[in-house]
């Protein structure tokens, strides 16, 4: 019992440490201002083309005025496509898996072994800082975009739904992070993982519902995809915002998402421990 306060203090100290790391990572991120602004602006371009594509699809199906495809009206479809961008803003982790695999291959892993830090909390705080910077800096252009597109939306969701939406975005960030981190750990076993990661990236575009909502697919496929963790990267938050998740099911759905986040965190750290055993035995 005597040790309890000391341990709590140590734990707070650890959290504070990663907080400070995040703050410094923020400074680092801001060193690349131009890259930042360009990558933000370039994100709007594909969005435009997808919207035009779906306009054509609905027109082709003769459903331009209020008709539905897979339970989505044209307006809902376009607001969905705008919303998955918000989801991906939180859940996409460009370069994370690639970076971990590179650190393994090039021996940079040693900084995590030599210094009193753990790789996953370190990368997580780093990523959180980058995301915070990114989301803050893109808030204005995104707000403008949504304002221009306001006619596609039925209006603001209720406060509890909005709260659930925000929570699902944060959990989506964690799921994206640990999923990508787990993929990066494959670098312990394979020399070159970039083509595998490319395939996974392309698949994720579909599996996460970034491409289109699962509801357009035959029910069986939709069910399967809704059982996988990928849906939390794009589909799930958007579906919450659009009231496609019944309010009484919200809590349990969020719980499931949290369990997925935890499971993937455990998976990533388990893979890291296994990989490290191998790395420490064979190479370094």
């Amino acid at each position: 019992m005597l040790r309890r306060p000391a341990r709590l203090g140590a734990l707070l100290g650890e959290v504070g440490k990663y907080g400070r790391i995040a703050r410094i990572a923020l400074v680092e991120r801001l060193a690349y201002r131009l890259d930042f602004i360009l990558s933000t602006l370039l994100r709007f371009l594909p969005m435009l083309t997808t919207i035009l594509l779906w306009l054509a699809v609905y027109a082709g199906a003769g459903q331009l005025s209020g008709g539905q495809l897979g339970g989505f009206s044209l307006k809902e479809m376009i607001s969905y496509l705008l919303l998955v961008h918000i989801s991906r803003m939180f859940s996409s982790m460009p370069g994370l898996a690639q970076g971990i695999a590179r650190d393994i291959r090039e021996g940079n892993l040693k900084k995590y072994l030599l210094q009193p830090i753990s790789i996953l909390p370190y990368l997580l705080s780093y990523r959180a800082a980058h995301k915070a910077a990114y989301i803050t800096m893109t808030a204005v252009p995104y707000a403008l975009l949504f304002f221009l597109c306001r006619d596609f939306f039925a209006g603001w969701p209720s406060a509890p739904v909005l709260a659930a939406y925000l929570l699902s975005l944060l959990l989506g960030f964690l799921i994206g992070f640990f999923l990508e981190a787990a993929l990066g750990m494959l670098g312990f076993w394979f020399l070159e993982v970039s083509s595998f990661l490319y395939v996974m990236g392309t698949l994720t575009f579909f599996l996460s519902g970034h491409m289109f909502p699962f509801d357009l697919l035959p029910a069986v496929f939709a069910q399967v995809l809704k059982a996988l963790p990928f849906q939390y990267l794009a589909y799930f938050p958007a579906a919450i915002f659009l009231d496609k998740v019944p309010q009484e099911a919200l809590l349990s759905a969020l719980m499931t998402e949290a369990v997925w986040a935890l499971a993937l965190a455990l998976l990533a750290s388990w893979l890291y421990r296994c990989g490290l055993r191998r790395y420490s035995a064979y190479g370094g």
């Binding site: 504070g16 030599l114 035995a281």
Partner: protein
């Protein structure tokens, strides 16, 4: 202070017994067919990178770790810093088993590899130092004091706000060393800290390391290809060849142990034909009245007597061969026999 910490403070910094590391290296087979076969059944070869090495290092020592490429120096450093596990043997570093990677252990250790850098490339070193402060949870006041002391010692205070990519190689290495010393480690492992640097930067870095060791009595184990580094810094050296420790002692003792020859420099009264001198030993250099001979140690007295008897000698000087040559010879002889059989002359 706990009992273990107390024991750590008193005992040796590094204590290693029979440390052994065997790597399993995948043997790539020749040709396309071989490559395909390799997909299914892999052939491995065992490489004894480190083979039963034992030594101990006391607090405050600066020890040089010498050996040819591939002798096992870096592998040993990796085991001592906890990056890899040994296949056999034991090690205690700062009182810890290194590969258990206890945080208390990692807070007291630093490893710097000359060919790798830890600093953020596009940012000023000051930002990397701030990250370091966070990682090691250093109190602000202590951090500022140490940083001030180190930047003054290395003379790079004015470069702290300059992006690392704009620094010269030497300045960058100094920043790397500062980063490694910010948490005031008790043990500093250096792998080729001066590689690729110009002479001026090498000299500064040596001077700084020596001075820092004097002030803080940090223990240093360093590998280097530059004998000058070792001569300037290390009272004691370990020589490792083919994974085995072949020498542990003062630098000067290497000549004693490995060199079977002396260098005899003669200044004769008149120009001389070098030919008759060949019977005493190898003529290394002949220029008019100046003759330089390499003579086997056990024949030295006899040879000197004969020369003084038969030639008019104005000046005579007997030296040990240059350390660098001795070491190069030790390294060469450690290579597999078929590579050295053409050069088996004694030094």
């Amino acid at each position: 202070m706990t009992a273990t910490a107390l024991a750590n403070a008193a005992g040796p910094i590094i204590e290693v017994h029979g440390l052994t590391k065997i790597y399993r290296v995948y043997q790539k087979q020749e040709g396309l067919l071989g490559a395909v076969r390799g997909l299914f059944r892999r052939r491995y070869r065992e490489v004894r990178a480190v083979d039963g090495v034992s030594f101990r290092i006391e607090p405050g020592e600066i020890v040089g770790f010498l050996g040819p490429n591939g002798a096992g120096k870096t592998t040993t450093l990796k085991m001592l810093s906890g990056l890899i596990y040994p296949t056999a043997g034991s090690a205690r570093v700062l009182g810890f088993v290194p590969w258990e990677r206890a945080n208390a252990f990692r807070r007291q250790l630093a490893l710097v590899m000359g060919q790798k850098n830890q600093l953020w490339w596009d940012l000023p070193a000051a930002d990397s130092f701030a990250l370091h402060r966070a990682i090691y949870s250093l109190p602000a006041e202590q951090f500022q004091r140490t940083l001030g002391e180190l930047t003054e010692l290395f003379g790079v205070g004015h470069l702290l706000r300059q992006p690392v990519r704009e620094l010269s190689l030497g300045e960058r290495m100094k920043m790397e060393l500062i980063a490694a010393l910010l948490h005031q480690p008790r043990l500093l492992l250096l792998d080729e800290p001066t590689i690729g640097l110009d002479v001026v930067a090498q000299v500064t870095i040596r001077r700084c390391l020596r001075e820092y060791n004097r002030r803080r009595s940090v223990t240093i184990l360093l590998t280097s290809h530059y004998m000058k580094d070792v001569e300037a810094l290390c009272a004691r050296v370990l020589v490792i060849t083919q994974g085995q420790l072949v020498y542990d002692g003062p630098l000067a003792g290497i000549t004693e142990q490995f060199s079977q020859a002396k260098l005899v420099k003669l200044q004769l009264a008149e120009e001389a034909d070098p030919e008759p001198f060949r019977r005493y030993g190898e003529v290394v250099h002949a220029d008019g009245p100046l003759i330089e001979l390499r003579v086997a140690r056990q024949r030295l007295a006899e040879v000197l007597a004969a020369i003084l008897d038969q030639h008019r000698v104005l000046d005579l000087n007997v030296q040990d061969p240059p350390l660098e040559q001795v070491i190069a010879r030790v390294f060469e002889e450690a290579r597999p026999v078929h590579e050295v059989d053409s050069q088996l002359t004694t030094v």
